[in-house]
Every structure is written in structure tokens, then in C-alpha cells.
Amino acid sequence: MLNIDTINLFYGASHALRGVSLSAQPGRVTCVLGRNGVGKTSLMRAIMGLQAVKTGAISWEGKDITRLSAHDRARHGIGFVPQGREIFARLTVRENLETGFAPLPRGKRTIPDDVFELFPVLKTMLHRRGGDLSGGQQQQLAIARALVTRPRLLILDEPTEGIQPSIIKDIGRVIRLLADGKLAEWGNMAVVLVEQYFDFAKELADDFAVMDRGEVVLSGQAATMVEDDVRRYLTV
């Protein structure tokens, strides 16, 4: 399980995360909510190791990973779908997916068929350059790419942004299936999901955390969540 223990993160002098703690367990979807600029992305990047934390600790599967580089974390089974897609623009769709082989042992370097089932458009565009795809297509590619690494912890930063409604629904279903370990290719997964779209989040979340100004102000099991409390933090 993922354990984040009072981390602090700075951009220069500005304090972006203030003593944030959070945990995420396999089999459960943890939803992080919050208005623009409260630090959700910063938190995800800290988990992935793309942004160094100043103090505090992050552990995953019992191992302290606070000082590990991002690629080492990927090797420990953490997969990342960043905000803003971050597609390798000049690699083809296939090559983008194949970058996901990096942390895998030789035998596992294949692209699971489930990926194409979920995002059929990718299959038809295997040879197109990632950067030429439409925004939504890129977003789908970003999710697919993370899945190729067979993560045990999946971090999704606003994965539905720019995606058409029908596929959003599919993504929701898949996240559920992944968390529950229903898809053979992936074990039972811990999912951390950043989402602005409250209904979508509510439907999926097992646990939730609400952030405001760099702090976690509300958290708990989704079942115990009071919608109005949360909404209060989401309005301006």
C-alpha cells in the first residue's frame, strides 16, 4: 500500500504542499479532489518522483521510496497518467506504447489486447505520430501507455479531461475492474485518481481526500463522505 506521510513541497519559495498525508490501498480507488491550483498535480508528481519533496516520507509496499528516482519507482510498479497528456510527440503511437516496456522483464514486453479493446482508436492509428493525435486521442494513449507497464499503483491526473462521454464511461468501468483485479493481465491495483468531475469521482471512489491550498482538508471512506462538505471546498 501507498503511504504518504506529512510531505512538504516547494516551488522556489512558494509552498505548494503543506504537510500532506494520504494512503492508498490495493483494490481501492482513492480520489483526490480540489479546486484549481490547490496542489493535486503537485502531489501526484511527488508520488511519481517527478518533483522532490522537502520533508516527509513516501512509502510503497512497505519500502521507503522518498528518495528514489521516477524510473526506479516505475520499476516498483507505479504507473502514471499525467495531466496534460505528455505524449512523446514524435514517436508513433506504437512506440509510445512500447516505452512502457522499460520496467518490464523480457518476457512481458507485449501490449495487452485489453488496451486496444478499451481504446480501439489507438489500434487504427498505430503508425501515426503521437503528437498528431487529437487531444482526446492523446489522453487515451496516455492511459494506455501507463497500463502497458502493468502497474500495481496507478496514478491518474484528470484522466477524463477532453475525452468524449462514451469513453469516459468506459474508463470508469475499467478503473473499477482494474482496482478489483478483474482483468487478468493486471493484478489487483491501487488507484489514485485526481478528478474535477464530481459525479464521476463519486461513482468510482472507495476513499477520498479533498485538498485546499496545499493541504488535505477532508478525507475518509467514500461511504462516509458528505457531499455538501466536499462541494464546499470545490466552489470558489
Binding site: 516551488y11 522556489g12 519559495a13 512558494s14
Partner: protein, 381 residues
Amino acid sequence: MTSFSARLLTCGNRRLWTGLAVGALVFLVLVPVLNLAVPVDSALHLPNYMVTLLGKYLCYALLALAMDLVWGYCGVLSLGHGAFFALGGYAIGMYMMRAIGSRGVYGNADLPDFMVFLNWQELPWYWFGFSQPWFALLMVVVIPGALAFVFGWLAFRSRITGVYLSIITQAMTYALMLAFFRNEMGFGGNNGLTDFKDIFGFDLALPSTKMGLYLASAVVLGLAFLLARFIVTSKLGRVMMAVRDAESRVRFLGYSPTAIKLFVFTLSAMLAGVAGALYVPQVGIINPSEFSPANSIEIAIWVAVGGRGTLIGAILGAFAVNGAKTWLTGAAPELWLFLLGALFIIVTLGMPKGLIGLWAQSKARLFRRSAVTEEKEARHA
């Protein structure tokens, strides 16, 4: 134009004007006094060669300033600015060649020496007019400006950007270098133009002429600084920076990056030409090696060392690098490349914003400024 002078006066804050006054005091008063009024054997005396040296640095600083305007603010890395500098230099050089008259070694009043011994019979047409000082002075800005305008118009219109632009500017200066090397061109080939005797009637060998040239360089640099300052603090300056960051986005706002870049590029080339024209009488020679691509790269290096995107930084960089070069080539002739190379690496690794950034950093440490304001400071200093 009154609004212009009003804007000019308000384009800086008090700190800027004090800084400028101090600069003027040092370069326009202190240096001449130390050189002329203080007795030669005094420890405070500034020897003549230092005056020439400083004059040369001032020209380099002007060149760096011109470069910074296009590169630092507009994001156009020209690797051919040496060409504009050299063209300005050739323009004034041609005038000084003509001013030699019959005092050349062959005593030919109509032709410069290098034409005489290569058997040229008459002066090529493009030399006409250069016996007139006003014409030469005009050409100092017109030739580099026209070249920059035509070149820039072609390039910016076709949306050549980034390294593609840098490389074709390099190709331009390289082609000019080869062309000027050709003796058939009538610019003295490899040796270029030398043996100058006087400029506007003043004997170049006299220390007073040198002092005059030095003072002229200082004044011109000061004026150019004000002009540049006026531009970068204007809204145009901010559009320039926007072009640097995201040119295509600027287009969608309705500005024409082509026109803006062309304006800045041409202006910058003219300033570079003026720098060259001040430089040549002070060093006494202009030849095609000034066009060499390495020279143009070096200009970019001065700017980067001093701090790209800050006017003072560019000037500082020109002084620092050339000062280091003067000092090291004498003090450590066999090692200076190591030291200079190391300086470049240290500056890039340790001072991402150049020497000027170092100053801002230390100040920020004192006042605990936030990272963001610090960067703004560096840009507007």
C-alpha cells in the same frame, strides 16, 4: 516625438538614472582625468593602451547590446552579427582608406595600395562616395541595416526560426567572409584595410584622437543603452518577449511577429554597424576574419555570460569576457584557453542567469525575495 522623450525619461526608475550617471562619470570623466591629468609616473595614471583597450571593450559592449536586443528579448539567435559589425567597420575603413590619398606607399592618390600592386586600373564603382565622411557615416548604418532588412524579411516571412535561423545567419556571415577574402572583390582580400592615417582630419596616431574615439564610443554606448532600454520597457518589449516564448501564440493575438522581428533585427544590425565603425579606427585594421562564424558565436557568448535578456548583463558580459581574454592571453598564454573554457562552463552551470543573475541572486538571498520576483528583477534590471 515629445511623447517619445517623455517616454524616454520615464522608461527608467531612479536606480537606472543613478546607475547611468555613475557610468557616465566613470567612463566620461574619470578615465580621461586619470589618463590625461594624473602624472605618468603616478600609480593612479591610466596608461594610453588602457584607454584604447577600454575603447575597444566599449565597442564590443555596444555589439553585445545589439545582440541582446534580438536574442535576449526577441529570441532570435543571430550567429551572423559579426557580419553587421564588420560591414560597419568596412564602411568607415573605406572612408579612411580614401582619406590616405597619396600618402600610401605607392603614392597613388586614386587607388588604395592593395589595388595598386594588384594592378587595378581604376576604383570600383562601389568605392565611390566613400571619400565623403558623411556618406561613409551614412553607409555605416545603411549597409548593415539594408542587409539585415532584406535577409530578415526573407527569413522571418518564411517563418524560419530557432536553430534554422541561427544556421542561415551563420551561412550569411560565412559567405561574406569568403567573399571578402577574395581579392577580386576589391576590399583588400585577407589583409583587409590597413595603414589608416587619419579620421575626419584627426591624426590617428595621436593619443588625443584615441581619447576622442574612446569618448565617442562611451557616449554612443550610453545612447544606445537608453534606446534599447526604451524599447524593452515598452509594450513592444513585452511583445518581443512573448515572441521569444511562443511566437505562434502572438500571431493569434493579431501581432505580426514578422514585422516585430524585422524591426528589432534591422535596428540591432544598425547598432552593430555603428559598433564596428567605432571599433575599426581604434584597432587600425579591418579584415575578413571579423566575419568568421566563430566571432559571431563569441558575441552570443558574451551576452550569455553577462546575462541574456538584461541590457546591463550584455554590457557586463562583453567587458568580462574580453577583459579576461586580454588578461589571460598575457598572464597565462599557454593556459588561457583552459581558464576561459572553464569560465564558460562555470558560468553556465553555476550562474544560469549570467553574471548579472549572480548579483540578483545574492541580493535575493539578502532580502529573501521569492523566486518569481527574483526572475523579474533579473529581467528588468
